[in-house]
């Protein structure tokens, strides 16, 4: 039995790796994705362009602009004569918002009266707009304090920061695991899980469908191997590919990007293998169900997207409604991401990682069993 299984695995590996272009396709694209997406996937708001309409032209209005210019977050502060002329720039997304310093702003400040400014933001980019509003209000709050000291840095939220210091009380904030709140440190471990998902799912999803389409499926079936052996033979190669890729990612993420790996290497590989098995099971299930590669591709896609969205990859699971949070408990990627975060950044205890690992194992057993059963029924 083992011999026949190994023969099938060898055959599958040969089909997968025979073509040099196909070999490259397994390695190069994921690495390019790792580079591009770790740069793209940021929720930080940087390089802000904010239009300024200064109707005051007084010293205090100039001071506000100086503080904005001194902050790292704002790179461009184009000036406009009035709101109407700035509006065009906002519509074309050249600026995210318009800061209006009304006439009398300096007069009010000089007289010690409360002064007010207006910030108009582009709600089409509401997330970036909200963060911009935070930055600007931090600067305005500092402006409210007597004119003294250096302009505050709107990005000072990172690291340890004292929030308020009236009299003799303060809040001291300490960011664990990621002291500079670098978004890439969050994204890169996630991408390790995300990219393994893609590869394990796609390889298996197209495997049976391609053989069906090309007519070689019947040949495999008349071989001495039993359907269960054939199915298992299709499930093993993705594990191999996934662990090779994961090793590559591990090296790039830690050595090139300097993300710490604080966990146990054995747990890492256990997680990668279990996760790849869970995904390969889903892929084979889809592949047994469909007739053409186009359908298989779409089927894989119809699974890939919900897995990705409901995993905490892009947005936190806690923001979802409770019924979707429930769905995330049966999503292998959600567990995988928790494992990766725990392993890379947090150095979580093996006991706490075991919870997710066991969940992952359960999911892998279910998907593998379902895939093998369906394959056997379809092959019979």
């Amino acid at each position: 039995m083992l011999q026949r299984l190994l023969a099938i695995v060898r055959k599958e590996l040969i089909t997968m790796l025979r073509d040099p272009r196909a070999r490259l396709a397994l390695i190069i694209p994921p690495i390019i994705q790792l580079f591009i997406f770790s740069s793209a996937a940021t929720m930080e708001v940087k390089n802000i362009a904010l239009a300024v309409v200064d109707l005051d032209r007084g010293p205090y209005a100039a001071d506000v602009q100086q503080r904005l210019a001194g902050s790292r977050s704002f790179t461009r502060l184009p000036r406009y004569a009035n709101v109407a002329s700035a509006r065009g720039a906002l519509e074309r997304e050249q600026v995210i918002g318009i800061l209006v310093l009304p006439s009398g702003f300096s007069a009010d400040r000089t007289a010690g009266r409360p002064a007010s400014a207006q910030l108009l933001l582009d709600g089409r980019r509401s997330n970036a707009a909200q963060i911009t509003a935070q930055y600007v209000s931090t600067i305005m709050a500092a402006e409210g304090a007597p004119l003294s000291g250096a302009p505050p840095d709107a990005n000072a939220a990172g690291g340890s920061a004292a929030l308020a210091r009236p009299a003799n009380a303060e809040v001291v904030i300490d960011n664990w695991f990621n002291p500079n709140l670098d978004y890439r440190w969050f994204m890169l471990p996630n991408l390790v899980g995300m990219l393994s998902l893609g590869v394990a799912l796609m390889i298996t999803a197209l495997s049976v469908a391609r053989e069906r389409e090309l007519g070689t499926f019947d040949q495999t079936l008349v071989s001495p191997a039993t359907p269960v052996e054939i199915a298992l033979g299709k499930l093993l190669p993705p594990l191999l590919v996934a662990s090779v890729q994961a090793t590559l990612y591990l090296l790039i993420v830690t050595l090139l990007y300097g993300v710490p790996f604080r966990g146990n290497l054995l747990v890492f590989y256990a997680a990668v293998l279990t996760f790849a098995e869970a995904c390969a099971g889903v892929g084979l299930f889809i592949s047994s169900l469909v007739h053409t590669q186009q359908q298989a591709f779409l089927g894989a896609f119809a699974v890939l997207l919900p897995f990705a969205l409901l995993s905490g990859f892009a947005t936190p699971v806690e923001n979802m409604p409770w019924w979707l949070q429930f769905v995330t408990t049966i999503n292998p990627l959600a567990h995988m991401l928790r494992l990766m975060q725990g392993l890379f950044l947090k150095g979580a205890s093996v006991a706490s990682l075991a919870q997710d690992l066991v969940k992952l194992l359960e999911i892998a057993l279910c998907t593998t069993a379902a895939a093998v059963l369906l394959f056997r029924r379809k092959a019979a």
Binding site: Q33, D122, G123, A145, A169, F177, Q293, P321
Partner: protein
């Protein structure tokens, strides 16, 4: 004269023939209907409910080493706030454990002697907050929320007398187009872009590669059809399919997600139709370049779907990306589609925004179709 007329007529007849053939191939495959209706609806649902950048409730742990009145008051302020779900932890060690094992997002420690130090001279009462920085977005929210509760606590205790008295500068913030800054309002137009890319690029990327792989391309070449007719005939059914699912998406967005449509249906239809030119063109170009469906699908995923997801400004703000990456996004049709859709839905028919975007999409589309036309030789290797 009548000769030209016959030729024109037969050209149209041939085109109609291949369109009917392709159309039948699309409609007879039950999966096409799933693709046109079920898939977009599922995705829109998931995008609409699953993705939210509006942080709701964050789970934190609280360690109270001081049992006094002030420590209790601050603890109660945390517990009663709508931003936090507070789990009590017995001591610092177990609080840190909870944080490390990913059970909570932050630990608030009110140290012993907090109350005494608050009123004593020459001492500083500190509240320590350990935040899970792994997810920077949530960490920033925690910073903001704790800060707000802290200010409220100090104000209630009348402890702000030490702070410098100054006339406040207030900032009146207003969001245009999206008054409550609901993230769903900008995410849903973005997800439509992703869905349209999926239909336009990914499905068509398999169209000609499939004929290569199955060997039916020879049969197609043997027909009197010209390259132009083959291209149009292959594209139009998918164009119609994508427009149908766009309509399904729009209706769902308006009725279920209560998205406003401040522009016109005309502009919406026009923008969608224009976007499909580069989307379909890209798919076809991939399809004539790649000889197997597997390879075509991968390339379609890499160059079509993933950029639409990551680089179109749908989830991640383009202006915050490094300059080299911003330059790459300029070549991605989905980026222009995203801005156009967000504008039509939230801002209205701002033609000064829409027309340049549409012109760009058309230009990219023309390039793709031109390249496809050149690569599609009616010749067998």
């Amino acid at each position: 004269m009548s000769d030209t007329l016959t030729r024109v007529r037969s050209w149209w007849q041939q085109l109609a023939a291949i369109m009917i053939k392709e159309g039948k191939q699309v409609t007879r495959d039950p999966s096409s209907w799933i693709i046109a209706v079920v898939l977009p609806l599922t995705f829109l649902f998931l995008f609409g409910f699953g993705i939210s950048l509006d942080t709701t409730v964050v789970k934190i742990a609280m360690v109270r080493e001081d049992g006094g009145r002030d420590a209790r008051a601050f603890g109660d302020a945390l517990t009663s706030s709508k931003w936090f779900l507070v789990v009590p932890a017995t001591d610092r060690r177990s609080g840190e454990r909870l944080l490390q094992d990913q059970n909570v997002k932050a630990v608030v420690i009110i140290p012993a002697e907090f109350g005494r130090r608050l009123y004593a001279q020459n001492t500083t009462a500190q509240v320590q907050v350990l935040v899970d920085g792994a997810e920077p977005n949530t960490a920033n929210y925690v910073h903001g929320y704790v800060g707000a509760i802290w200010s409220g606590f100090l104000a209630a205790r009348g402890l702000e007398q030490g702070s410098p008295i100054a006339a406040p500068v207030s900032l009146e913030v207003r969001y245009w187009y999206n008054a409550n800054a609901v993230s769903r309002w900008f995410l849903i137009p973005g997800s439509m872009t992703v869905i349209m890319t999926l239909l336009g690029t990914l499905l068509t990327s398999l169209v000609i590669a499939r004929e290569y792989e199955r060997g039916t391309l020879e049969a197609l070449y043997a027909t009197p059809l010209t390259r132009g007719q083959i291209l149009i005939g292959k594209t139009l059914p998918y164009f119609l399919l994508a427009m149908v699912s766009m309509a399904v998406c729009v209706l769902t967005a308006l009725l279920l997600f209560q998205l406003p449509l401040r522009g016109s249906f005309l502009a919406l239809g026009l923008v969608s139709a224009v976007f499909l030119v580069p989307a379909l063109g890209q798919g076809l170009l991939i399809s004539v370049t790649m000889r197997t469906q597997m390879a075509a699908a991968q390339l379609g995923l890499m160059t079509g779907y993933l950029p639409a997801m990551m680089l179109s400004g749908f989830l991640f703000d383009i202006h915050s990306m490094p300059p080299w990456l911003q330059a790459i996004t300029l070549a991605i049709p989905a980026r222009y589609m995203n801005v156009s859709l967000q504008t039509v839905f939230l801002a209205g028919d701002l033609w000064s925004v829409l027309i340049p975007n549409m012109l760009f999409m058309l230009a990219v589309g023309a390039l793709f179709f031109g390249l496809t036309w050149r690569r599609l030789h009616k010749r067998l290797d």
